[in-house]
Symmetry: D2
Subunit: 349 residues, 4 copies
């Protein structure tokens, strides 16, 4: 089969012919229909500092957002059948640690990641643990199913660790309109937010915020976002801030635009330590900063399936580019350009 | 009456004779039995940078932790009677802002503080809004009632904004064994924590942690507190960290000793901005940083009353010094020495 | 002024000229623009068994759902001004009991009801406690503002005692399509429910369910509602059941259509004791039955204001009839007929 | 091996020699050290109506509360090793239904029960699914480990579906002092309840309530329990009622002793439908009735392990009788007598 491989610990990748893998115990082999590119994949492609520190071995196949059809099942697989249309949860949990045993497998103490710690999905076939295969069901197209994984990040960030109990009738600010940020705009809108305010410096991305449901879209290079959110909320600030940018300055601004008693979900990964004014922006306001990673297994997937299959959220505006697998160089350049939403690789062409 | 006054915007205070104030509309006049000294009072006494920026006017009487008997009531007071034994909630809320109207008066948008924005309790008498007078009830002594206010801070920090749902059977680390930190040790113990681990460099304060119920007491100057908490919790970290120190380094350590999915209540006020490793310590762990200030009105007071009147928590080890009001200089020196727990001024001698 | 009075403990009412009342301490006088008729008012009008047991004295003016303009304020009123456009919270709480003091004034131990325990709003003027006057703000018409009180019941029932954390992406069954039930349909839709299923035997009311946002509307006389909900949810049942009918059989059915781990909000008042199969429908399913009454003060009013002023929920389909005050007999007959949604009396004509 | 068998669909049981079973795929074979008798076992022994309707087949071995050592493991078992000291979760979940996939396996749609749907633990050996084997760890004796399963019921009932957020500083009434009810007394005490009030007509059981930590013990045949709880709580009622009796009258009383806004956990299984006054006892009070079954997998087991291994709760007063397996007739007679707490069978003698 064809697979997009990191062959050395440096930038770039090669599309190679390698043997189709066999599913082992508890694993399934999936024929990949669509595999979308995540920021993590770009880091691996470019082989930045994070990739050098995090990727355990090369050669390896990367890519982790996927939809496909189960082609074969290994031993000890009882609940996923050949022919099933699946997406994949990419957090591979141990199932045995205290965190897993208390129902929080997505923050497993021994977490591994598909396409980072294992061979991934930029290929004709990929092997995934059967427990990570999510049977998609009716009404979700192949190209949409591949973005269920990052959409799930958005669902988890928006719902938070409660049940999104603070979204309805409240003001929600979304910092960073990459694909996951854009998804949260649609989700907050679908869950009855009062106002959804999007903040993004990149004009291409900013242009997608309105179609996803933002009431107000702010360019933080032109307008002070803290002042803008404060004004739009009659001085109160946003009850919910969804921090999807990972930009240190934006995180600080997020705390400043947060209402008294508000919640900021932190999903974007900053490059380094972040300095915050805890006194005025967190303690006196009784704000809550909530780290968010991955997706709840599998409540988030149930929510994701409902939101997408019913059209409560329409992700079409965010899916901007599609490339055959062998045009991967264009695909990564498009992703890196900032002039894109979600970019999808199609191994089937 | 006698009142301990800041007469100028500089260090020190004077015990002066001033007219006994009259309670205005909605106010009560309280004869002060006991008034304990808070760190804030020390800032005002020393007139540090915070005091210079925060205290609106002098001359003023300071002090805000008090117990006493209602001596007179003003107009429009219907529910507090002369002779009632009361403590005082010191957050004076407007009652009308969005935060107040949604049941969170302690983070009122127009909050004023007794003894900071108004004349306070280091005096023979003090005027407090009737709605801020908490009728103490049976079984709580005068000296204990005066510390209900800081004890309430501890209750609120320990219970968090849930109901302390994560304390029972979990590991709780308390950073900083000033009086409020010491109180949280007793509270976490009373609420069924698995282990309570206290961290404090000052040996005098550290010595009170055990009597308050700590299972393990750490001197962070001798032992790495992150390693110690990690080891004591079999590698998992503490599900709850109560940050009562305000020390920037300790706050960072707090995030590092926090278990995956854990909660850190932030009550201690750092001197300046704080730098945190959000990626590894908050986002990937899905940790929650929760600002805490004041006391829920008046759920926290109900909880405080129950914990103290039943003896579920015994604060006797923390009340270390008592002084007549005219010995205020000794009292402040003792508070500043670090060789004290709670220091109480007794206007009645 | 004119006032619709119960002059004896029997059916009927008289429109009388009586002196315009004066607002007392802490009270405001409101010129009534619109006053809608509640089921309770019908009970009082008909003087049924409940009215005989509950109404403390006659003569009295009834009616409690209202919008109007503050005409005068009494002593000790500091935050409501003459000329303000207000609706009224009708639960008059004592403010001093343990329930009030812990932020749950709507279930005050000494609760009194406007228009039941005090003179009400079917009149040119009504006196209400200042603290019960809700300043409506922009974008809500007089006729809509009068239904903020029952709409608030619907908000409170739908959000439950959490924050509606179980509505989004879940199936919601609404039993009983009186006005409050119809409102909950719109609210559940606005908060991102997966499917909203309405159950109502009365064809007139059933016809309003679709316009309010129901995906499926069931006549329980023709179709077994338990089977219908089960089928519509692929066998799982509804995660949320909003019981607005008070019909004993429907309450039992509600438990049977509830999903494992589901929540049933009970707002409709049954005529007598209700018999339930706790084993199979509550215990083994870990279902939750949650009593709901009134509105949270004043979080529910904030939510209500947002939902109505933004058009997230449009109540126009439910407001079916308007009558001048002197046509009250027609208004009550229309309300009693079942061929109506919300019926509004307009003292101004 | 020896096994206590139901050989026909009638009362009684026979201790037979049968072949030691082999663990199948995903199963482990456990040598039973101790197996305690549950009320369910008594129903099966007596072969009452419930047993006739529920037990799918005979002959079968019953018994489900156990501790023991893993003797052998089947295929596909990766995480439980021979020699491990284990207790057993007795709810055998499918792992695939919507409820399981959302982290609520204990209310699985296709739930099976060890010793009811499968051969059980009153034997020298028992086969359990590996995923149901809970490795006990240090500090819990064999006789105590066998009651971890019913103790887990008590933990789950006490903590409820929140985290026991309403226990600390509140009044807790426990209705029914069978072993599980007695355990909840100790748990509520350990979690900082204000007062724990126990209600039980049987004097033998009532005598154990005090040693387990009850502040007040009521004989409902002598004293009206509603009046007694109301009086003991200064008129407010209990914020938490733990209904462990399954007695229809007691359930009704439970709602009447519940405070405004209170929570009643329903664990006891009534014999038939139960009639409740929903208006006054649930709706107007905004009470919550919460069905409770089984144990959260495996958060409850983590909590159980901590409470028992630390001695936060001491179950010694409840373990009243021990019998060798061949003295099963005495053991069941003792259980049926009401003059017992927990009765333990010891296959090893």
């Amino acid at each position: 089969m064809r697979a997009l491989r990191k062959t050395g610990r440096h930038a770039g990748a090669e599309l190679q012919e390698i043997p189709t893998p066999e599913p082992g115990e508890g694993e399934v082999l999936v024929r990949v229909h669509a595999a979308s590119i995540c920021g993590t994949d770009l880091h691996i492609y470019d082989w930045n500092e994070w990739a050098e520190g995090r990727i355990p071995r090369v050669p390896m196949t990367f890519g982790h957002e996927l939809s496909g059809t189960v082609e074969a099942v290994g031993a000890e697989v009882h609940h996923v059948e050949t022919g099933a249309f699946v997406a994949a949860e990419t957090h591979i949990a141990c199932g045995q640690c205290a965190t897993c045993r208390s129902g929080r497998a997505h923050i497993c103490e021994r977490l591994r990641i598909l396409g980072v710690d294992t061979d991934g999905a930029f290929a004709d076939f990929v092997v995934v643990p059967a427990v990570n295969a999510w049977v998609v069901g009716e009404g979700i197209a192949r190209e949409v199913a591949t973005i269920m994984e990052p959409f799930g990040n958005a669902v988890h960030a928006a719902f938070g660790t409660g049940g999104g109990e603070d979204l309805a009738t409240n003001a929600v600010a979304v910092i960073g309109c990459g694909p996951i940020g854009l998804f949260t705009i649609g989700i907050a809108r679908a869950l009855g937010a009062w106002k959804v305010i999007a903040i993004e410096p990149n004009p291409y991305r900013r242009a997608m915020a309105g179609p996803m449901g933002a009431d107000l879209v702010i360019d933080p290079m032109q307008t002070d976002p803290v002042a803008a959110v404060t004004e739009a909320t009659n001085g109160s600030g946003a009850e919910v801030v969804l921090e999807m940018s990972g930009n240190a300055r934006a995180i600080d601004q997020g705390t400043r635009m947060l209402a008294r008693g508000g919640r900021m979900s932190l999903l974007g990964l900053p490059d380094g330590p972040v300095t915050l004014d805890l006194n005025d922006q967190v303690i006196f306001k009784e704000a809550r900063l909530q780290g968010i990673t991955g997706r709840e297994m599998f409540r988030t997937w149930q929510q994701t399936t409902t939101l997408l299959s019913t059209g409560r959220v329409d992700v079409a505006p965010v899916i901007t580019h599609r490339f055959a697998l062998d045009r991967f160089e264009e695909a990564f350049a498009t992703t890196a350009s900032g002039e894109s939403g979600k970019v999808i690789l199609l191994p089937g062409g």
